[in-house]
């Protein structure tokens, strides 16, 4: 069965970078951008859904209200959501559900972040009860440590090579060249990738996503509202998955020290990453074959290959072939990360899942200048973050 759909009336971004400004400023720019795109005034918005940042103090924990105040209090109802890398999709889900429930016609979703330099670090202080603090303290297990486990595993199980991983970066760097919101817009060669410093073996500096400042915003409305406004044939949100893992989760994940034990109960049919997209496909009542374009979370170049399989583009172990055949390059059968992905953006946590949606909306409207996937009508986003959070959004035209 497919669930109800909502219309995407507007999308907007503040370019990704290291701008050194307050995250609120980025959010306001993205929100106004999305309002202009929708042809709506801020005072038309009835519900504001903010994706939180945990690195910018109290205003970051109440992002919805922070953006609403910055844009000018106008009485809209509000919520704020935190779900690690899936925060933007969770905020989008709340807005979608409110519209589908008939509680409002038009909603604004905003996520923005200002990030520190270098590795994402745990919240400060002495907090031995927090696994995110402890994994740094006891193991020095940075995020790239976990990405490297998956990459090494892929080499061992499927015979992936350093060259395969580098080729993902080369592809995404090329995709993002013309993207005005991307932070890194420079072509790289496989040799340059493989000559970049080793960070967490086998992953090199150019294969691990940076942390960025940035913001993304989406204006949603009911299908009725879109029709009344004569919005023609808007891009629709057909699914938002925020699936959690099923016990026992037998893949080691940030920030954990161990997997669940499968001694008493056998492993579930689907891995966590598989289940994220599976839930979205079920909501939208479509299959992987129906996709024209995808934006997946390439926290590392190697992880993009895992995602090809997790979202059903190919069978386990076939991702390298898909890459080599050019299927996932713009012009290929199912382009992945036409925006340039995290390789070109770096991660601005609460904005990133929304940025994926913005890109697909531009793709489906035929407005992705210099990186257009011709004739794209159905797109899927996928991401995964800490503490059992992940998301997948399907948009249709």
């Amino acid at each position: 069965m497919s669930v109800g759909e909502v219309a995407v009336l507007g999308v907007g971004m503040h370019p990704w970078g290291k701008w050194g400004k307050n995250f609120v400023e980025y959010g306001v720019v993205a929100a106004r951008d999305a309002l202009a795109d929708a042809g709506l005034a801020w005072t038309d918005i009835q519900f504001v859904s903010g994706a939180d940042t945990v690195r910018n103090g109290y205003p970051g924990y109440v992002a919805g209200a922070t953006f609403a105040q910055a844009l000018g209090w106008q009485g809209a109802q509000v919520t704020s959501a935190y779900a690690a890398c899936a925060s933007g999709a969770t905020a989008l889900d709340v807005a979608r559900n409110r519209i589908l429930a008939g509680l409002c016609d038009v909603a604004m979703v905003v996520g923005a972040d200002t990030t520190p330099k270098g590795f994402l670090a745990p919240t400060g202080g002495d907090r031995p009860d927090d696994p995110d603090w402890l994994r740094f303290r006891l193991l020095g297990a940075t995020n790239p440590t976990y990405f490297a486990f998956y990459a090494r595993r892929r080499m061992e199980v499927y015979g992936a090579t350093d060259s395969d991983f580098a080729k993902v970066k080369v592809k995404n760097a090329r995709h993002g060249l013309e993207n005005p919101n991307a932070r890194y817009r420079k072509e790289v060669t496989e040799e340059e990738v493989l000559a970049s410093p080793m960070v967490a073996d086998p992953l090199r500096l150019l294969e691990i996503c940076a942390t960025s400042d940035g913001a993304a915003a989406v204006v949603l409305s009911s299908m009725d509202f879109a029709r009344r406004r004569g919005s023609g044939d808007p891009v629709r949100v057909a699914a938002v998955s925020t699936a959690t893992p099923r016990f026992p989760n037998t893949i080691i994940e940030m920030p954990n020290f161990a997997t669940d034990s499968a001694a008493a109960v056998g492993p579930p049919e689907l891995t966590f990453r598989d289940s994220i997209a599976a839930e979205a496909y079920e909501q939208a009542a479509i299959a992987p074959d129906d996709l024209d374009v995808a934006e997946v979370y390439d926290l590392s170049s190697a992880l993009e290959l895992d995602w090809y399989e997790n979202i059903g583009l190919c069978k386990p172990g076939e991702a390298e072939k898909l890459l080599h055949d050019g299927d996932t390059t713009i012009g290929g059968r199912i382009p992945v990360n036409p925006s340039g992905g995290l390789a070109c953006f770096g991660e601005a946590v609460p904005a990133q899942a929304l940025a994926q949606v913005c890109e697909l909306v531009w793709q489906l409207r035929g407005q992705a200048d210099g990186r257009q996937v011709e004739g794209a009508r159905v797109g899927l986003t996928a991401n995964q973050g800490l503490f059992g959070h992940g998301s997948s959004v399907i948009v249709k035209k």
């Binding site: 270098g118 590795f119 670090a121 745990p122 400060g124 002495d126 031995p128 696994p131 603090w133 402890l134 994994r135 740094f136 303290r137 006891l138 193991l139 020095g140 297990a141 940075t142 790239p144 440590t145 490297a148 486990f149 998956y150 090494r152 595993r153 061992e156 410093p197 080793m198 960070v199 967490a200 073996d201 086998p202 992953l203 016990f247 026992p248 037998t250 080691i252 020290f257 161990a258 997997t259 669940d260 034990s261 499968a262 001694a263 008493a264 109960v265």
Partner: protein, 141 residues
Amino acid sequence: MSAARVPAVEGWFTMDEADPRLVGNKCTSCGTVFFPKASIACRNPSCDGTAFDDVPLSNRGRVWSYTTNHYAPPAPYVSPDPFEPYSVAAVELADEKLVVLGQVEGGAEGLRVGAEVELVLSTLFADDEGERVVWKWKVVS
């Protein structure tokens, strides 16, 4: 005078230098093993157990995956000065059917997927209170 050796985290492993063990616990209702220990409720969604018995985990396992970090992590990790690269392994314990992380004693030498490793105690860093001890995995040669 030798510095006091204190665990870097309380209750996660035994301080038995000859036969160190990670200490998990086991749900008395369904038998699921947890590491670090479960303390509130059994995390098997089909079990309503709330009682657990401590269990020492296997002291040998096989490498599921591994990496060597070439950059100093942020605090609260305490890096030696100058920084030295360190390896971290994800190790599969056959009996407990789980994968548990640990730094690797003795560097990346001999480290590969499937390699047999054993648990050892090692100094994580030293401060005013003494040597902070942590578990590590060591390749069995």
